[in-house]
Symmetry: C3
Subunit: 154 residues, 3 copies
């Protein structure tokens, strides 16, 4: 039996890698430098629309916050796939950054960001990437995530 590819493991979760989202301003979605893929921020795009809008803990639930982070990460993984061709070329994801729009009283944003970590763990293996910060911020800011990984051979 052959080990499943990351693409197959993502499909097993019932998730689909979308075409990479277009940038919302004047920047490219990813760059390869050395053995690293640097991705841009990713929002919870589904079929060209933001699937989750509003603040976690106010307009949307913590559970939907988890799903929103998962979906943003799916979009990030789609960028990485576009960058490297096949996800099996990714040796590991080395950094995950999250910025969450949460109500001031909401304290469970690390659990929401697990939506992204769990997806990465499932797709690429059991070692989730370090998370330098789980930011939350004012305004109706969308959930936004960055994931990046060295191409195999790093």
């Amino acid at each position: 039996m052959t080990a499943k590819t990351p693409e197959e493991r993502i499909a097993d979760l019932g998730l689909t890698l979308p075409p990479p989202a277009r940038a919302v301003a004047n920047y490219v979605p990813w760059v390869i430098t050395g053995n690293l893929v640097m991705t841009s921020g990713n929002l919870p795009w589904r079929d060209g629309k933001l699937a989750y809008v509003g603040k976690i803990g106010r307009e949307i639930s913590g559970e939907d916050g988890y799903k929103s982070c998962q979906l943003s990460c799916v979009n990030a993984v789609a960028q990485i796939k576009q960058a490297v061709g096949e996800l099996s070329k990714v040796k590991r994801i080395v950094r995950l950054e999250g910025v969450l729009g949460v109500d001031d009283a909401f304290k469970e944003h690390p659990k929401c960001l697990d939506g992204a970590s769990d997806l990465i763990n499932n797709a690429f293996g059991r070692e989730g990437p370090p998370r330098p910060h789980d930011l939350h911020q004012p305004g109706d800011a969308a959930r936004l995530h960055v994931a990046r990984g060295p191409v195999r051979g790093d």
Copy 2:
């Protein structure tokens, strides 16, 4: 005809690379590691003073927010020049981070950060760097940007 240098393209925009700003606390402005230049945060310094103070969408306009990001980026590019000597040694800018102080109701901060992206695009060519996050934050925080690029040969 010889292609213009990044320095010449910046001058064509009517912009001047200042002497790199002094750190506002106990840190160095840049470090080279491997083929990467890591810069510190940069504020919209002009002639030793912050040219834009206040929140975008409240005390200052979105248009000035764009200019503030452009000016912060000019300061970041000055750091990179100090690090590598000539900007033509920079192969590309691989990451741009922005933190903007905006009014909660202001939603156009990605367009403001284009002030930095557009400068980079103009100076270094037509491929803007990925932007992991366009943060906005409370308080009277200054606009702050990070740009970094691998030295040619990366």
Copy 3:
């Protein structure tokens, strides 16, 4: 006379490297990629408890904010030591990120983050790492820091 190790210099400051803190969610504390150690966010843990809780400038003083950043950085250095074995293998710290929970009226967060910079300067030599941003954010967010450094030979 032999130069002191970073561990000895940290002990000279009266500080102790703790066992690395467990992640508060589904992620690993550090990853080595190429010559870089990427660490996760670090909170001001002491003996398994957060030593500083609340907003700087409101519940806790600016002086304690400095100490909180120092302690968070001690925890980050403990992660790096776990990653590389002996801190003398670290060539330099190349990036320090700070996220501080501060009162909106508090403007001295760069000075607070010096608690981390000063520790790094003392432990690893006199060149503090670049600081891309000194974020502050709403809510009762804990102080959180990231430090990372290339392994010697970078």
